[in-house]
Amino acid sequence: MQNAERPVFELVDVEKVFQVRKPGQRFGRQTVGLHALDGVRLSVGQGASLALVGESGSGKSTLLRVLLGLDAPTNGQALYRGRAIREARAGGSDFARDVAMVYQDARGSLNPRMTIGALLAEPLRRFAVVPEAQIGARVEQLLTRVGLPADAAARYPAALSGGQVRRVAIARALASEPSVLVADEAVSGLDVSTQAQLLSLLRRLQQEMGLTLVFITHDLGVASYLCENIAIMYLGRIVETGPTDAVLAAPAHPYTAALRAAAPSFFQPIAEPLPGEIPSPLDLPAGCRFSGRCPRVQGDCHASDPYLARAGEGRSVACLHPLASPQASALAGTFQD
């Protein structure tokens, strides 16, 4: 229990480089490094809730894979309660029971040849969550909790709709009674009422059981409803973190500001965030990776690459010329309204 005060997850300058074939060479053997993650710093405390937001290809899923120990970081340290994540995963079933995952592709994460009941019973048995005789009752309870009828247990995933399959994936993740839930777009693409139902379920679990949440989303509304903290990713780096409301109310990074402007109303996926093409991660611009699209770009932005650094109460930003002091606007928001 001496680990209780250590953050659940801690990433120190994590890099993940994939070797991919050189573009334009279809047959060659030459590879180049693709920096899917590049200098990621992140800390997730016990009971915290973090939303990961960013354009497609910014490295969100890769970050989750590193957190789960599925991918080893190429450089830097990835820690789970003070221990290297890969080590924690290899060292027994505690990590597997404690950290549960909901996949972006929920249907693909469920064995099509198993009934919903068998799928939910698998973690219950594996971790001996309840005695064998109570497994049926617990499966029913899990189904009820995510708003599915008890008779769904006898069905196969192919007989369920997309939204129902999502609920099953969430129910299975909760079966092992984890303290950390990691979810990749767990509610996107669902209709509004289903989304609201699942979000309120997650929020309840978080409040009642102190569940730690890491939640990838495209939707700033979901982020602000569910997560106290937010991390904005751009091309493999977290460019701004902080309390969700403060960051969204007064963005410090020009990219956050642009995202915010592109999603004027919450609970709508970000449509077209920004003008300009997102550069290829194979060929990052010199200096700041956002310099090609940044409205505030200045001469020194092309020269040095800003790292995530503290900027006010609980906030960090990776920008040489951040927008109006976030502290001031946060205070303004709190005291003078």
Partner: protein
Amino acid sequence: MTLVEPARRGARSIFLRRPFFTLALLVAVGYVLAAIFAPLVAPYDPVAQDFNAMMQAPSGAHLMGTDSYGQDILSRVIFGARYALIIGFFAVAIGAIGGLIVGLAAGLSGGWVEWALMRLIDSILALPSLILAVAFIAILGQGVDKVVIAVGLSMIGPFARTVRADVLQVRVQLFVEAAGLMAIPRAVIIWRHILPNVIYPLAVQVTIRISEAILVSSSLSFLGIGVTPPTPDWGLMIAEGRAFVSFAAWMSAMPGFALALLLIALSIVGDGIREEFDPKLKGKA
């Protein structure tokens, strides 16, 4: 909340939705019943020679005529179904079980083990199963049991190849990774998550390949190197009648017709089963 029911839709009415499948299934079942109850349904002893009734054309007494030894062709065709189905079934069982083991090992091992197994499969697969079966017969000798083993061994290659392809496809599926995330032991993952997703396509293959095994075994008999006379084997009967085809065509035609009808029926049944139960051919919900 109500659940959609695409899987159950019309599960009972498959026989109505697929009339050719139903017809083919009835034919195949008819063959199986004839084979099982051959001594009861066959009008004569299949190996009883009657030199007073040689090479008779089909008539009331001999519905399919008689051969050059005066044996009743209908009775021989009925008993022949026994040999055809037994050889087909057991040969495919050997091929499917051997192919499952080799294919699983190749698909799950990786590295040099996979390389070695695949070279072995490739070198075997490069030969058509008939040629390979001839080679095994040359080693094993003739007889029904030898034919079963030879044809079975010659089918391990094709089965192993499809099993391996399925394993490679299944083992990278998200649900396999998800099971690993739940710290499910590897042996259990193979047994519970990989095997069932490989077995079902394999079972479909089995129904299709039984007809291939029957064809290969009949070809062996036709070539005179499979089952030995006077066993009532279709391939053997076709070969025996070949010399008389110009004036006693029924001697080859009757067993040939029996063989063709069974093969067609089995392949229609196999196709029907595949289309009905292969999730890849069905639109996913």
